[in-house]
């Protein structure tokens, strides 16, 4: 993986500065879309800890996103809590849930891991869907948010940037290296005293923590928590973002999230058949650009890196 070289750092600073200045340059509508995109950026980067770095296919990550969202909605709407408290609680409850669900899931790999995360995701959804206290199938409507969209945009920008910085530090720490090791082989790490399951569990929990924050922000942005945010639609969409940007790069999923959200808003302006477009995008990506947009760009650059074995074509 190409490290945080001078050039990469410069590009990131420019992007960040541009994001800070944007509210004075573009329409409020675009700021709203950008806020949504940034929230998805956090969710996608968080999911990619398990997917790209841990090498486990999670098909139930919306459980943490949605739980964060619902916790935030309940605290803001029913208890009149402040936004900081609500967001912190979202993260805490999602983390706890990640610990419980992850504790079972890390025992499995491959198809079975995917199936178990899906089962837990559906389980959480099925409970919330019928739970009257949280509005059952309608959800919680009228969640109070910040008055000004620009203020909320900056809050999201700061939170997401800080979170990604933390995730960067995590995946580039010794812990992150070992995590990638457990992705490449489940047999070899134990020989040097590494507990594969514990490594995977910690990654899963960290991922759930940040997914919870993003879910909380998502609900505040939309002013509503609905059961859909717990379903496969959201779990799947975040996988598509990771695929689109590239799972082999830390910021790949972030790029995927921004592109997908803007594309969605742009295309839904012309046609109702966004799912059709998204379906074709997915199929074409898998067939022709499996490393995603950012991943493929990096492949072309001078600091090219080896693809992990599980992403390479097996002929």
């Amino acid at each position: 993986m190409s490290g945080m070289t001078g050039k990469t750092g410069f590009i990131l600073v420019v992007i960040l500065a541009a994001l800070c200045l944007l509210p004075w340059g573009v329409s409020p509508m675009i700021i709203l879309v950008l806020t949504e995109a940034l929230i998805w950026v956090l969710f996608a980067v968080a999911t990619n800890i398990v997917l790209g770095y841990g090498g486990r296919i999670t098909f139930g990550h919306a459980a943490f996103f949605g739980t964060g969202g619902y916790v935030c909605a309940v605290l803001l709407k029913k208890f009149g809590a402040g936004l900081p408290v609500a967001i912190i609680c979202s993260a805490v409850v999602s983390t706890a849930m990640g610990l419980i669900i992850g504790w079972f899931c890390v025992r499995l790999t491959h198809v079975y891991f995917a199936m178990l995360t899906m089962a837990f995701g559906q389980l959480v959804w099925a409970v919330v869907y019928r739970w009257r206290y949280v509005g059952a199938d309608t959800g919680i409507i009228g969640v109070p948010g910040l008055g000004s969209p620009v203020e909320f945009y900056f809050l999201v920008l700061i939170l997401v940037s800080l979170s990604i910085l933390v995730i960067y530090l995590v995946v580039h720490s010794p812990f992150g290296k070992v995590l990638v090791g457990t992705r490449e082989s489940e047999v070899r790490p134990p020989f040097i005293g590494i507990n594969v399951r514990r490594q995977q569990l910690v990654a899963f929990v960290i991922s759930a923590f940040f997914s919870g924050i993003s879910g909380g922000l998502f609900v505040v942005l939309n002013g509503i928590a609905y059961p859909d945010i717990l379903t496969w639609v959201y779990s799947g969409q975040v996988l598509v973002m990771c695929l689109l940007g590239g799972m082999t790069v830390l910021l790949g999923p972030a790029a995927g999230a921004v592109i997908l959200i803007f594309l969605q808003h742009w295309i839904t302006g012309y046609t109702q058949n966004w799912p059709l477009v998204m379906g074709f995008i997915i199929v074409l990506l898998v067939l022709f650009l499996p490393n995603g947009i950012l991943g493929s760009l990096l492949d072309l650059g001078p600091g090219r890196f080896q693809l992990p074995a599980w992403l390479r074509w097996q002929k």
Binding site: L51, I57, F59, F104, R107, L108, H110, V111, Y112, A114, M115, L116, M118, A119, F120, Q122, L123, A126, V127, Y129, R130, W232, G236, L239, V240, L243, N273, P275, L276, M278, G279, F280, I281, I282, V283, L285, V286, L287, P290, W310, L311, W313, Q314, K315
Partner: protein, 294 residues
């Protein structure tokens, strides 16, 4: 109370009949192709919609239901063939994630195409005369809709035919060889690409049959595709991925849990299914009848 439970159990087995058709196809595809066939639900709904169209076209002639059952199955099998030849063949050698994602993309495409063609309303297929109404047993205590019994029979007959094909024909022998040792099967000169396509087509055809069957039982609407495939996934994981016997038992378990859950704690009857699925996966990841090494 006993009568009520019996009624629920028979209704449960009826529901299981439809789930069974889906799950057996899904399990067959996984067993031979090692693919988590996420489009199975889309093909199921597609078969149902095709059956609906045929039943409308044939309404003036009569006998529409049976012909639409056949047509739904065949057209669904054709769609399955198309997907296998155009897309799946390119990803067999790729990682699980990419196989899953490409099918996920196809789910979106098929769902939107169906929305364009058939709209977003609830469509149901007219049942034939003699399958409407219900029969009662045990002095009127146990009441079962005739159509539910029909669905049970349809499930049983289809599974029996599949069993015969797999165990009594040359084609079935080849499929089993492919299932056990794909390299060896290819070395012995079997046309493995054709075998794979046929298996996918058979699985898809069964999904299509199930779609028409459910169109007569309730109605068809967008969103049922994924709902159904997730339910079918839970069945095959409970029974064991790749095991047809497991799919049968899994379908019975899920059908019964769904209906008995309705009696005990109606609020949580869907949650029960996923709870059972999670428990089975945690304790015995390869499912009740699967093989540990699969």
């Amino acid at each position: 109370m006993v009568d009520l439970i019996t009624t629920q159990i028979i209704t449960g087995i009826g529901a299981a009949g439809i789930l069974l058709l889906m799950a057996v196809g899904l399990s067959l595809v996984f067993g031979v192709l090692h693919i988590l066939d996420f489009v199975h639900g889309s093909i199921f709904l597609f078969g149902g919609y095709v059956g609906y169209t045929f039943s409308l076209l044939l309404a003036p002639v009569g006998g529409g239901f049976w012909l639409s059952l056949v047509a739904g199955g065949l057209v669904a099998a054709a769609l399955g063939t198309l997907i296998e030849v155009l897309l799946l063949r390119r990803v067999y050698e790729r990682q699980l994630l990419f196989q899953f994602l490409i099918l996920f993309g196809v789910v979106y495409i098929v769902a939107d195409m169906m929305k364009i063609t058939w709209g977003t309303g609830y469509l149901s297929i007219a049942r034939p005369e003699f399958l409407s109404g219900s029969v009662s047993y045990a002095g009127g205590g146990v009441v079962v809709a005739k159509y539910n019994l029909f669905v049970i029979v349809l499930g049983a007959v289809t599974i029996a035919m599949l069993w015969l094909i797999m165990n009594r024909t040359r084609f079935g022998l080849h499929v089993r060889a492919l299932h056990q040792q794909k390299e060896m099967a290819a070395l012995l000169g079997m046309n493995t690409p054709l075998l794979r396509t046929s298996v996918f087509a058979i699985g898809s055809g069964m999904a299509g049959l199930a779609g028409v069957a459910i169109g007569g039982l309730g109605s068809l609407s967008p969103g049922m595709d994924v709902e159904a495939v997730i339910l079918a996934f839970s069945i095959v994981t409970i029974g064991g991925l790749g095991s047809v016997k497991g799919a049968i038992v899994g379908a019975l378990i899920v059908g019964l849990v769904q209906c008995l859950g309705l009696l005990v704690l109606p609020q949580l009857n869907i949650a029960f299914i996923y709870l059972v699925m999670a428990i089975v996966l945690v304790i015995r990841p390869w499912g009740l009848f699967g093989r540990a090494t699969a």
